[in-house]
C-alpha cells in the first residue's frame, strides 16, 4: 500500500449542476476538487491546464461529448485518470469508453455506492471501507 499524503486532485465535468453537487458531496474532504466544467470544451481545457489526477466525465455534454474529450486528452498525452459518470447503460458506450482509455465507468444512478470505489480503483489506491464496489457493467 502506497502512502500518499496529498489528496487526489479531481476535476468534475457534467452539464447537469445537481449531479455536480451530488458528486461533490460524495467526494467529501478526501479529494481536492480542482474545478468544475459544464461542457466538453471546458472540460478539455481545464483538464489540460489543471492536470488533475482524476477526471470525472459525463458522456452527453454540449460542445464535445465526454468520449471525444477523453480521446483528445489521450492524444494530448494527458495522464489524468478518467472515470465516466453517465446514464448510458449500453455496451457500445462502455466499449467506446474503454477504447478511449477510461479507468472506470459508473452509472449515475449508482454513484452513491459505486463512484468512490471506482475512483480509488482508477488511482490504484486501496479504497476505504465504504468504497468497495467497482462497477464495470
Amino acid at each position: 500500500m502506497q502512502k500518499n499524503t496529498r489528496r487526489p486532485r479531481v476535476l468534475l465535468a457534467d452539464d447537469f449542476p445537481q449531479i455536480l453537487e451530488e458528486v461533490q458531496k460524495l467526494l467529501g474532504n478526501d479529494f481536492e476538487i480542482v474545478g468544475f466544467a459544464h461542457d466538453g470544451g471546458q472540460a478539455l481545457r481545464l483538464a489540460l491546464t489543471l492536470n488533475p489526477d482524476v477526471l470525472l466525465l459525463d458522456i452527453s455534454m454540449p460542445v464535445l461529448c465526454g468520449l471525444e474529450v477523453a480521446r483528445r486528452l489521450r492524444e494530448a498525452k494527458c495522464n489524468a485518470k478518467i472515470v465516466f459518470i453517465t446514464v448510458h447503460e449500453d455496451h457500445d458506450y462502455l466499449d467506446s469508453a474503454i477504447s478511449v482509455g477510461a479507468s472506470a465507468y459508473v452509472l449515475k444512478g449508482r454513484i452513491g455506492t459505486d463512484l468512490l470505489p471506482a475512483i480509488y480503483a482508477a488511482l490504484e489506491e486501496p479504497a476505504p471501507e465504504q468504497a468497495v464496489k467497482l462497477i464495470y457493467v
Binding site: 468520449l67 467506446s96 449515475k108
Partner: protein, 799 residues
C-alpha cells in the same frame, strides 16, 4: 387560162377506185355499156389510183410528182419491184433447177407506129397482162402505119411481107390493134395463119369487117359521146352550142360516125357544129371565137384536112389552147393538156383486157370460149381544167377520177398538222404536268412552311430552342425562344460550335462534351442537363436532347436536337428538395430534442433520485427499509433504461456520440437479438465524423432496409456493409429472401422505398434497388462526401 400539159400528173379521187376488169359484165340498160363498177351512192371521190397512175407514168414519165403522191408511188413501185423480184426469182428458180420454161410468141400487129401514144398505151396494157404468164413471152411487133402508108398497094406489100415473115415462124397468138390489122387477119387468116388465135383490140371505133371465124375474139372499142355531152350540159347548164372537133384520118372518120349517132339525142337541145374538115389556122381561129355558151368535144384528130398528122399529145394542146370554150374529150389520150375530160375510154385498159385474153388462150382456152366484149369507159377529169372553168367537183359523177388534182392544204399538210397537234398535245400534257407539279410543290412548300411555323411556335411555346448543327461546316442553326434561353433578341441564330461552347457554364462543359461524344461514338441519343449563361449574365438550366445523323460511310454529318429551358423546374425541384430536407431535418431535430429531453432531464432526474435514495438508505439502519429501498432503486433504474430505449428509438444518441458505424452495428445487434434474424454487419473506412445529415440519412435508410428485410424477405440472414473512402460512402443491405416485384411492391414496401429515395436524394446520393422474386433483394446507397463533409471533419478535428 388553160393549164399547160402538166409536169405534175396526179390521179386522185375521193372515192374508192373504179376497177376495170375483164371479168366485168356489161351493165344492164346502160346506154354506154360500160364495164364499170361504180359506187353511185357515193359522191365524187378522190382516192389515189396507183395502177392507173402507172399509165400516166408511162406517158408522162418526165413529170415531177406531189410529195405524198410520190411517196405512195414510191411505195407502190417498191411493192411492185418486190413482186417482180419475187416473180423473177420464181421464174429463175426452175431454170436454176434445170427446167426449161416454154416459150410463147405473141405477134402484135399495130395500126400505127410508136409515135402515136395509143400504140404505146395498148402495148403497155398487153405487157402488163402477160407479165403473169407462166411462159417466157417473146413479143413481135409490126406496124402497118396506115396513116403514112395509106396507099393500098403499099399496104399490100406490107401484108405480103408479114405473111412471108411469119410463114415458118407461126406465133402462138396474134393481137391486132386497130381496124386495119384486124381486116388483114380476117382476110389472110385461113391461108396464112391457119389455127393461130387472133385477139383484136379496137381502142377506137371498129371498122366494118366481115364475119369473123371462131378463132377470133377481142375487145371492141367504145366511145361515150352521149354521156360526155350529157355531163357537159350538167356542168355547163347554159350550153347552147356544141362544137365537135375531129380529123380526116380513117379512124377519125369512123369515130365521127359513132359520135354523130350518139349526139342525135341532143339535136334538138343543141346547136351542133362539126369542125372536122377545117385545118389550122382556120380551125384555131374558129375555136378562139366561139360564143360563150359553147362547149367543145374533141374527137380523134389524127390528120387534118390539109394532110398534117397529129398525135394526141399534139392535137390535144393545140385545140385546148385555141379554144375559148371548155373542151371535153372521149379518150384518155386527150387528157392532161387542159381538156376537162369526160366519159373516156382507156387504151391501157383495153390493152390489159386483150392481154388477159391472150394469156387465157396461151393457157389453153379456145378463142371461141372467150366472148367478145366492149371496152370500158371511165369518168375522168383534169382537175386543173375544172378549176379553170370553175366547175365544182361535187357536180361530177360518183367514182370519177381526177387528174392533176392539187392536194388540199389538209391533204398536203395533214401529217404535219397531225404531228404538230401531237406535239402541241404532248407539250400541253407536259405543261399541265409541270403546272400540276408546281401546284403540288407550292402546296408542299406551303405545308412545309406551316409545319415549320407549327414547329417554331411549339418550340417557342415550350420555351425551347431547336438546333441543326452541320458537323462538316461547324454551322449551328438555332431557332425558337432564343431571347429567353440565351438572351438573343431574335427568332433564329446561326453560330459556330465555339459559340455554343462559350455560352455553356464552364463547370458544366465537361458534362455536355461527354454527352455529345458518347452520343456520337455509340450512336445513342444525346441527352444532357446543364447551365448556360445568357447575354445578360444570368444563368439558365437547360435540358437538351438530340440525335446524330450519319453518312453512308458512318461519318457523322449532322446533329438535330431541341433544348428546353428547365430553370423553373430546377428551382421547383430545389425548393421541393429543400422543403423535404427541412421537413426531415425538422423531424429529426424534434426527435432529437425529445430524445435529449428524455435523456438529459428525465434520466438525470431519475439518476439523482436513485442517488438520493442511496443516501437515505445509508442513513437508515432498518433492514426492511434497506431491502425496500434497493427494490425502489432497481425500479428507478429500470425506468431509466426504458426512457433511454425510448430516446434511442426517437433519435439514436449513438450517432452523435459513437458515430455511424457503431450506431449501425448496435442497431444490427438489436435486430438480431429482438427478431431472431442474423444480421451480419461489416464496415470499412467509415469516416469518424460525418455530417449529421449524412449519418442520419444512412442510418434511417439502414433501419428501413433492415426492417423491410426482416418483415418481408423471410430470410434468416441479412448482410449489411458500410464502406467508405475519401469521396463517398456506400451502404449495402442484402438478403437472400423471397424478393419482390420492383414494378409492383407492396404498399409498405413502396412507401419505404419512396422514403429511402427521398432521404438519399436530399444528400445528393443515389440508391439502387435490385430485387428478383426468389433470389432476394439488394439495396445499395451511395452518398458523396463533399468538401463540406470533409471540412466539418477538419473543423471538428481542429476544435
Amino acid at each position: 387560162m388553160v393549164p399547160k400539159a402538166d409536169e405534175r400528173y396526179t390521179f386522185a379521187s375521193r372515192q374508192p377506185p373504179v376497177r376495170i376488169d375483164s371479168r366485168a359484165k356489161p351493165l344492164a340498160g346502160s346506154t354506154t355499156k360500160r364495164w364499170v363498177f361504180v359506187q353511185k351512192e357515193r359522191p365524187c371521190a378522190a382516192v389515189r389510183m396507183p395502177r392507173l397512175s402507172g399509165c400516166a407514168e408511162e406517158v408522162h414519165s418526165h413529170g415531177s410528182c406531189d410529195p405524198q403522191q410520190g411517196m405512195h408511188r414510191r411505195m407502190n413501185r417498191a411493192i411492185r419491184v418486190l413482186f417482180e423480184v419475187v416473180a423473177v426469182v420464181g421464174c429463175c428458180l426452175p431454170r436454176l433447177a434445170g427446167e426449161v420454161v416454154p416459150v410463147r410468141r405473141v405477134l402484135i400487129l399495130n395500126e400505127v407506129g410508136t409515135s402515136y401514144p395509143l400504140t404505146n398505151l395498148v402495148d403497155l396494157g398487153i405487157r402488163r397482162a402477160l407479165a403473169d404468164s407462166p411462159y417466157r413471152i417473146e413479143f413481135y411487133r409490126e406496124y402497118m402505119d396506115t396513116v403514112l402508108f395509106s396507099d393500098p398497094d403499099e399496104q399490100s406489100l406490107f401484108r405480103k411481107f408479114y405473111v412471108q415473115k411469119y410463114k415458118n415462124h407461126k406465133p402462138d397468138v396474134v393481137i391486132t390493134v386497130g381496124s386495119s390489122p384486124l381486116r388483114f387477119m380476117a382476110e389472110t387468116h385461113k391461108n396464112s395463119f391457119p389455127g393461130v388465135p387472133i385477139v383484136f383490140c379496137f381502142p377506137k371505133v371498129p371498122a366494118e369487117s366481115g364475119p369473123l371465124d371462131p378463132e377470133f375474139t377481142g375487145v371492141q372499142g367504145e366511145i361515150s359521146a352521149a354521156a360526155t355531152v350529157g355531163l357537159a350540159l350538167r356542168l355547163f347548164p347554159r350550153t347552147r352550142h356544141l362544137v365537135v372537133v375531129g380529123g380526116v384520118a380513117p379512124y377519125d372518120r369512123r369515130e365521127q360516125v359513132l359520135v354523130k349517132q350518139q349526139l342525135e339525142l341532143y339535136r334538138d337541145r343543141l346547136d351542133i357544129a362539126y369542125l372536122t374538115d377545117v385545118a389550122p389556122p382556120a380551125l384555131l381561129n374558129r375555136l378562139n371565137s366561139l360564143p360563150s355558151d359553147t362547149v367543145v368535144l374533141l374527137t380523134a384528130l389524127g390528120k387534118d384536112s390539109d394532110g398534117n398528122s397529129y398525135t394526141a399529145d399534139q392535137s390535144g394542146p393545140m385545140v385546148v389552147h385555141a379554144s375559148n370554150a371548155p373542151v371535153f374529150s372521149l379518150v384518155d389520150r386527150y387528157l392532161n393538156h387542159g381538156e376537162i375530160g369526160g366519159d373516156v375510154s382507156s387504151a391501157i385498159k383495153d390493152g390489159q383486157i386483150v392481154g388477159g385474153m391472150a394469156l387465157r388462150i396461151l393457157g389453153g382456152q379456145k378463142p371461141q370460149d372467150i366472148p367478145v366484149i366492149k371496152s370500158a369507159t371511165t369518168y375522168m377529169f383534169d382537175s386543173r381544167a375544172l378549176k379553170h372553168w370553175k366547175v365544182k367537183e361535187k357536180l361530177l359523177p360518183a367514182g370519177s377520177l381526177l387528174l392533176n388534182r392539187d392536194p388540199t392544204m389538209w391533204e398536203s399538210y395533214r401529217w404535219y398538222v397531225f404531228i404538230g397537234l401531237c406535239l402541241v398535245a404532248l407539250e400541253t400534257v407536259l405543261i399541265a404536268g409541270l403546272l400540276l407539279h408546281r401546284a403540288r410543290r407550292k402546296r408542299a412548300e406551303k405545308e412545309l412552311d406551316l409545319t415549320y411555323d407549327r414547329l417554331r411556335l411549339s418550340v417557342e411555346a415550350g420555351r425551347s430552342v431547336a438546333w441543326d448543327f452541320d458537323v462538316k461546316t461547324g454551322q449551328n442553326y438555332w431557332f425558337g425562344d432564343l431571347q429567353m434561353m440565351f438572351g438573343i433578341p431574335a427568332q433564329t441564330y446561326c453560330g459556330g460550335a465555339d459559340d455554343f461552347r462559350h455560352r455553356v457554364l464552364p463547370e458544366d462543359w465537361d458534362i455536355v462534351a461527354d454527352a455529345i461524344e458518347n452520343a456520337r461514338q455509340n450512336r445513342e441519343p444525346y441527352r444532357a442537363e446543364f447551365r448556360v449563361v445568357r447575354n445578360d449574365e444570368t444563368v439558365r438550366w437547360i435540358e437538351a436532347k438530340g440525335k446524330f445523323y450519319y453518312t453512308t460511310n458512318g461519318i457523322p454529318e449532322r446533329m438535330l436536337g431541341i433544348a428546353v429551358d428547365v430553370t423553373e423546374r430546377k428551382i421547383a425541384e430545389d425548393s421541393l428538395a429543400t422543403i423535404g430536407r427541412r421537413l426531415i431535418e425538422a423531424q429529426e431535430q424534434e426527435r432529437a430534442r425529445i430524445a435529449r429531453e428524455l435523456h438529459d432531464d428525465i434520466n438525470q432526474q431519475l439518476a439523482l433520485l436513485a442517488v438520493e435514495l442511496d443516501q437515505w438508505n445509508r442513513s437508515s439502519s432498518n433492514g426492511d427499509v434497506h431491502s425496500h429501498a434497493e427494490a425502489i432503486k432497481g425500479r428507478i433504474m429500470e425506468i431509466s433504461r426504458d426512457v433511454q430505449a425510448l430516446a434511442h428509438q426517437l433519435h439514436s444518441s449513438k450517432l452523435e456520440y459513437l458515430g455511424l458505424a457503431t450506431a449501425a452495428r448496435g442497431f444490427c445487434r438489436e435486430v438480431s437479438q429482438t427478431h431472431g434474424v442474423k444480421v451480419h454487419f461489416t464496415e470499412n473506412g467509415v469516416p469518424r465524423n460525418l455530417q449529421e445529415e449524412v449519418s442520419v440519412c444512412l442510418f434511417r435508410v439502414l433501419q428501413e432496409a433492415v426492417q423491410n428485410a426482416v418483415k418481408y424477405s423471410g430470410a434468416d440472414h441479412i448482410d449489411v456493409s458500410l464502406c467508405g473512402n475519401s469521396r463517398e460512402l456506400a451502404l449495402t443491405v442484402r438478403d437472400a429472401g423471397v424478393g419482390f416485384d420492383l414494378s409492383n411492391p407492396t404498399k409498405s414496401q413502396g412507401l419505404g422505398l419512396v422514403s429511402m429515395r427521398e432521404r438519399i436524394s436530399l444528400v445528393k446520393g443515389t440508391i439502387a434497388i435490385k430485387s428478383k422474386l426468389t433470389t432476394g433483394t439488394e439495396i445499395t446507397a451511395h452518398v458523396p462526401l463533399d468538401k463540406s463533409s470533409r471540412a466539418s471533419e477538419l473543423s471538428l478535428g481542429a476544435a
